[in-house]
Symmetry: C2
Subunit: 328 residues, 2 copies
Amino acid sequence: MKLKELGELGLIQRLYEFQGKGLKAGIGEDCAVFSMGELDLLVTTDLMVEGVHFLKELTPPEALGYKLLAVNLSDLASCGALPLFYVIGLVSNTEEDWEYIEGVYRGLYKLSNLYGVGLAGGDLSRGERMMLSLTIIGKAEKDTWIPRSGAKVGQRVFVSGTLGGSALGLMELKNGLKEGPFVKRHLYPPIRLELGQCLAKRKLASAMIDLSDGFLQDLERLVAASGVGAEIELQALPLEEGFIRRCEQMGLDPLKVALSGGEDYELLFTVEEEKKEEVFRLGEELKIKLSEVGRIIPQGLRILQNGRPLEIPQKLGYDHFRWENPFT
Amino acid sequence: MKLKELGELGLIQRLYEFQGKGLKAGIGEDCAVFSMGELDLLVTTDLMVEGVHFLKELTPPEALGYKLLAVNLSDLASCGALPLFYVIGLVSNTEEDWEYIEGVYRGLYKLSNLYGVGLAGGDLSRGERMMLSLTIIGKAEKDTWIPRSGAKVGQRVFVSGTLGGSALGLMELKNGLKEGPFVKRHLYPPIRLELGQCLAKRKLASAMIDLSDGFLQDLERLVAASGVGAEIELQALPLEEGFIRRCEQMGLDPLKVALSGGEDYELLFTVEEEKKEEVFRLGEELKIKLSEVGRIIPQGLRILQNGRPLEIPQKLGYDHFRWENPFT
């Protein structure tokens, strides 16, 4: 069977059997978790492949480096962990300019310094197209990290920041725009490390995931991992006015962009009702907008518009092995 | 400046400035080392790129998976560390058969089980050609790991196993041979984890490196990291008779293959003279051939044949960004 028939999810399911023993969390979580004395070690890895995750002509090298580290930091953020250090695999064409590579590392370094996480080493290889692989190691106090799988019926669904800005920025970039708030959101997404760590330390969130492939798809993952469902209030979704206006100018459906647009890197998490107020206070403390957007139900995924269920389009997200290249 | 002008070494040198603070070892060592309470964490990463590190038609998928993990385990072995868990980045063409991918993971899994190290997770992406990235995390008791940089003048140079078999096996594969001792050595190289750990635990080796890019190039790296030189006795190099015979049959210079052929994954290490006997006993205990092949001198790299220096050909190793593809 070919991978395009199997799809990303089918492939992941088949890879479960090769997973090692003795992990606290593994395939299917944002990070793998391994016990190490009084601490838990967390590790996550992400690939960025030229032509799949980025196009060089649309991506300044600093932004590429920034985002490579950011997506990995975001996985640690979604578990509430503290990043320690990372390693990089770089595949590049030998005709590549050093200046581009240097830019990538400058982008990485800038974000590294912001969060006190260090580049520890890596590997280099020739190859036709650029490919970057980053693996980051983090830590958390024993069993304080937040899984995808902890959501319980009745708990509230929260999301940080606003939705869809990164996908809109990508469309602007493709239309030739070089800057602006949405382009910036796409190239330099905010990373919610401090929020994730506070939610973990104060035991405020029962399940958490970061929004990499779109709100709806990542919500589906969280509820699937937890064996529950969710009901989302359309009006409660955090869409900026400027975002809605800009989508309409560009002939886009803001709702579709917000629900299915990837790479927001906001945190989606579930909260016991009695902890809601404390969560809102945490948002004020950190100056991060936190929105209650729905609740956990026994099963299914429902979006309510003025109390009536909206039909959810199938497969709003992105599958690496089945779907068309979003850049072509 | 283009990468092909800079070369792999030039690129690595320029990347030093982006290295994080607070590492016990980083770029330039086989593993990065990070202090974590009473333990040291070691991490290493290796890429395998189709057409650069392997050709699918010459590489059974199990061998590819085995070797991907083996080369990383070998980096841990060369520091004397204990492997814990690893993550994989897999880039594959969507036309790829699941059966090939499954074979790769079966090869990984087989070796994983042998050493009690577990696959913890990974990332998947589409891409034109196959690319695998593996990052492994290991541990060692605080400050017991062995660096490249600890060789001192007067110490003896040791190497495990025999030299050149893997490079010979690759040439046999290219000539259409599918099996035999050298093909097996190339596809399923032995990994010296236990030897590395014993050398570290018993404080027998002052500096160590694994032979990935060829004896001479890796020796050069060890002495450069240590700020010393080395003198090697040609007659002491462990070349099997069968290896010499087979090289001659194929019209190859056995010495050149042994000195410059990569992927032996044997350990090259330095030992205080008074510890030599203990090292030989360890070899007998583990049933691994250990050979004393030379000594550390203040500077330079000399190979002696019957007491007379041999001229060392420049650049016997392999540079990822400057050299020609060894497969074409």
